[in-house]
């Protein structure tokens, strides 16, 4: 028995020319000149992954030009990278070893190395981090180690290279290993292996080194073989960020990639942050017979639901027992790659899984010095290639997780103008002032008893969706008159609209409130929001003003939004002279108002937002629908 196992092992050690099908994305990082290209060239040569005659060809060119052959030369896919003009004209970014192909995501040698290293590492399933034995742990060694952790690369081996230059001494290796492990330990990163090698001479790459009998661990290729293909994300709670909703035929398919956990036909799903619920009716697929009945982490799936609920891209489906967090704010560690520095107060696009929403950096807590992680360094900007702790505030609630618990929904990128300019991981939920109302909405929606008629049915019948048209502004700006004009216009057009004046609640629903409570407006806004929620559930377009809330209209508008979410709120702000409008205002009206023109503008906005169908009686075409 024992012999058999050994024999088997010997056989697999022989890396025949057969190319395997399994593959693993790896990235090679480390300080400049610590030997990345040499290691790559060596890996290709030692695994027999070079095309016929390639090694000899490069060697011959070196001889011609009278210089020593280096394995690094094998790795120059672009002519420009080597002035000497030595290149490999077929791509060699794959090498095979023991039944697996290793894909080197990004070859070194670029000017913008950190940006490429990060792009590469973000796609990597494993990494090799190189440290020069002669030079020891350098700034980039630390930065790259920290970034690997930030990027979620948990499988990595530290390769201490150029051991030949330090006489293969164990004490040098031990010193570097100790120093580097201590550094990694500060952010709880643990390398799979720390391996002493000489990439140039081939020690401990494919073959065990005879120069270092004191080292008994695996070679670099053995360490790579031990990297696992997939971490156990299927065992986690379900996360399915909605990527798109398709209606190519009779099926209405919610498409997305399961980023954690699994789902089955018959599962009840909750979509956050809208709190909509439905049951999985089927899992759709092309050229699969019979259709699958379950889906797992990593799979791009499409599901149909038992009822036509309104969900859109950016929401995260989960099971009700383990919901994602929802807030407009979170604390995070970010790395910045943008040409322009990351500034507090500037507007960026935040992307968490499939959610895309405008945001700003509320606070830059500190710049993280990757040489000395403990150091406190305040700043009002984060410059290119810096890492920082920040708080992000989004314009709308986002469903997310902490990165310690979930990978894909716990990280994000920031887009500056047209480019992804930075990324990061969520470390903490930051409570916002809507938290209690959001929780109330969530509990209320989960317990909501529904009839047979759905939102979609009402929309088809009425020729429009439910919505709230909310007019904000100071005293005597004409809000009430505008609201009445809009209501009249909508009803004249055959829409189902209703003017809900907050004042009407005062003597009835709000009769039990004390003067003090009325002064604060918070409870009034909550009650108003719940009434509005009932009315929009009947399919109405509710027109309203924030009159009863006095100058607290900004907070009141926010509370109403939270309580009626995800029903669209079209916000109009009126003022006598130009002034700053509340967040998320759609239409700003200042100065003398032409009420008819304003009403037309608002109707156009309702059409643009997909609330009104383009023609009365026609089948509504809704921008966000179906």
């Amino acid at each position: 028995m024992v012999f058999l196992i050994i024999l088997n092992k010997v056989r697999t050690m022989d890396n025949s020319t057969q190319k395997p099908s399994d593959n693993l994305n790896i990235v090679i990082v480390g300080h400049v000149d610590h030997g990345k290209s040499t290691l790559l060239g060596r890996l290709y040569a030692d695994t027999g992954s070079l095309p016929d005659g390639k090694l000899e060809k490069v060697q011959a060119i070196c001889q011609q030009q009278g210089k020593e052959f280096e394995y690094a030369f094998l790795f120059d896919a672009f002519l420009e990278e080597q002035e000497q003009g030595i290149t490999i004209d077929t791509a060699r970014t794959f090498f095979g070893w023991k039944g697996r192909q290793y894909i080197i995501i990004d070859a070194p040698g670029h000017k913008e190395f950190l940006k490429n290293m990060i792009s590469g590492a973000a796609r990597a399933e494993g990494a090799l981090l190189l440290i020069d034995a002669l030079e020891g742990v350098k700034e980039q060694s630390k930065k790259h180690g920290y970034l690997l952790s930030l990027l979620g690369v948990r499988q990595f081996a530290v390769v201490v290279n150029k051991m030949d230059l330090v006489g293969y001494r164990q004490d040098v290796f031990d010193g570097i290993e100790k120093e580097y492990r201590e550094f990694l330990g500060q952010f709880k990163a643990v390398p799979q292996q720390v391996i002493p090698v000489s990439a140039k001479l081939g020690d401990n790459i494919a073959n065990r080194s005879e120069q270092m009998p004191w080292y008994t661990g695996p070679t670099v290729l053995d360490a790579l073989s031990a990297f696992r293909k997939e971490p156990g994300r299927s065992e986690q709670p379900l996360r399915l960020p909605v990527q798109d909703v398709y209606k190519f035929d009779a099926r209405r398919i919610i498409a997305g990639r399961i980023t954690a956990g699994q789902l089955k036909v018959g599962d009840s799903l909750v979509f956050s942050p809208s709190n909509k619920r439905a049951t999985v009716k089927s899992i759709e697929a092309f050229n699969v017979d019979p259709l699958p009945v379950e889906g797992h982490a990593g799979q791009s799936v499409g599901v149909t639901l038992d009822e036509q609920i309104f969900v859109e891209r950016g929401e995260v489906a989960s099971h009700q027992e383990q919901l994602p967090l929802v807030s407009t704010a979170f604390r995070a560690n970010v790395f910045w790659l943008g040409r322009k520095p990351l500034e507090r107060g500037r507007r960026y696009q935040l992307r968490v899984a499939t959610k895309e929403v405008d945001c700003e950096v509320a606070t830059i807590h500190r710049i993280i010095d990757t040489m000395d992680l403990a150091q406190q360094q305040g700043s009002s900007v984060v410059n290119k290639n810096q890492v920082a702790e920040i708080t992000i505030r989004a314009k709308a609630p986002v469903a997310f997780d902490l990165s310690a618990s979930f990978e894909a929904t716990g990280r994000f990128v920031l887009v500056d103008e047209y480019d992804i300019a930075g990324g990061g991981i969520v470390t903490e939920l930051v409570h916002d002032d809507q938290e209690f109302l959001r929780e109330e909405a969530r509990q209320r929606d989960f317990a909501w008893v529904k009839g047979e008629v759905g939102v979609e049915d009402r929309a088809q019948q009425y020729g429009h969706r439910a919505a709230i048209v909310l007019v904000t502004g100071g005293r005597h700006t004409g809000k009430s008159f505008l609201a009445r004009t809009i209501e009249a216009r909508l009803v004249a057009d055959g829409r189902h609209a209703y003017l809900l004046d907050g004042g009407n609640l005062r003597r009835g629903l709000d009769a039990d409130l004390s003067e003090g409570e009325r002064g604060q407006a918070a409870e009034m806004a909550r009650r108003y929001g719940e009434v509005a929620r009932l009315l929009v559930d009947t399919g109405l377009i509710v027109v309203s003003t924030t009159n009863p809330f006095g100058m607290a209209y900004v907070e009141a508008a926010q509370a109403i939004r939270t309580l009626v979410h995800p029903v669209p709120v079209i916000a109009i702000h009126m003022s006598k002279a130009p002034e700053e409008a509340p967040p998320n205002t759609d239409i700003v009206l200042s100065g003398p108002i032409d009420f008819d023109a304003a009403t037309r503008r608002i109707l156009e906005e309702l059409k643009r937002r997909g609330v009104l169908a383009q023609a009365i009686g026609a089948k509504p075409t809704f921008q966000y629908s179906i």
Binding site: T17, K19, S21, N23, N25, L50, P51, D52, A77, F78, L79, I88, D89, T90, A91, T93, F94, Q101, I103, D106, A107, H110, K111, E112, K115, N116, I118, S119, A122, R123, L151, G152, Q243, D244, Y246, F248, D249, R251, A255, R257, E284, A285, F286, N287, G298, Q299, S300, R313, L337, Q349, A353, A408, R411, V413, E417, Y418, D419, I420, A421, G423
Partner: protein
């Protein structure tokens, strides 16, 4: 076949991201094995539908069997096919004897650029793979092209996790590469696994040769091979150390690098 499913899941995710973010999106289809797998993946992503036009830049020098295959599959799968051709260059007598890079630039690169400009496409999906040749190994999944269709490979925007570059200044466009992580063997394994109909030029039909990579007739030569089935192709590829595109003349010298910098696919 788990690794094929993983590749499929990633490609499908990319295709759906592209479809969501680009109003005027098209997919290049050369009828070769890669872009045919890409087309199949689109049917996977969109549940049997192909909700975007397929572009073929016809150089007029294609192998006739490829055109027949194109029209038949387009009919059977209900594809929206858009064929472009650089008629001016052809009228002026462009052909491979005037220099291969010149010919490729005029008939393929410029043919494609004309088509993109004419139709105003902002996203073009292509079946390039990182393992094909050196310049393609540097590609991103979503790769911006400037107003002239040029590619600045030295200064590419970062691509993090599953977040791609989907916003771009007016006048520019994005090339989208869902097959970047696939290898030549993966392509054939997937064709076998999914039973995807492919053009039989890839098989030896008795004369001991087959095409390994398909392009224009004058500039593509068959390889010596007796592979008559997909299984035999896979077996042959597992043991070869000859580059896939060795039969493609445009790869000689700095050909591909120069071509791709200027917007070649």
């Amino acid at each position: 076949m788990r690794h094929l499913r993983q590749l499929e899941d990633q490609s499908v995710y990319i295709l759906r991201e592209a479809y969501k973010h680009f109003d005027n999106l098209a997919m290049l289809w050369s009828m070769g094995k890669d872009s045919t797998v890409l087309l199949w993946l689109a049917r996977k992503a969109f549940f049997g539908h192909v909700p975007l036009p397929l572009l073929h830049v016809d150089t007029s020098f294609k192998i006739p069997a490829m055109i027949e295959y194109r029209d038949r599959v387009a009919r059977e799968w209900g594809l929206k096919l858009v064929v472009g051709q650089n008629k001016e260059a052809l009228a002026a007598g462009m052909n491979p004897t005037l220099g291969r890079v010149n010919c490729c630039t005029a008939l393929k690169t410029n043919g494609l650029k004309q088509l993109i400009e004419q139709k105003g496409y902002t996203g073009i999906i292509l079946g390039v793979r990182a393992d094909e040749e050196g310049t393609r190994a540097k590609e991103r999944y979503f790769s911006p092209r400037d107003k002239h269709g040029d590619w600045d490979f030295r200064d590419q925007p970062p691509e993090l996790w599953d977040q791609f570059k989907t916003t771009f200044p007016p006048g520019t466009h994005i090339r989208i590469h869902p097959l970047l992580d696939w290898t030549e063997i993966n392509i054939w394994e997937y064709i076998k696994y999914e039973n995807i109909p492919f053009i039989d030029l890839y098989l030896d039909k008795g004369d001991g040769t087959r095409y390994r990579s398909l392009g224009c007739a004058p500039c593509t030569t068959p390889i010596k091979s007796t592979a008559k089935t997909v299984d035999e192709i896979i077996d042959e590829l597992r043991h070869t150390t000859v580059a896939e595109r060795s039969g493609r003349a445009q790869d000689e010298g700095r050909g591909m690098e120069l071509l791709r910098k200027d917007g070649y696919m």
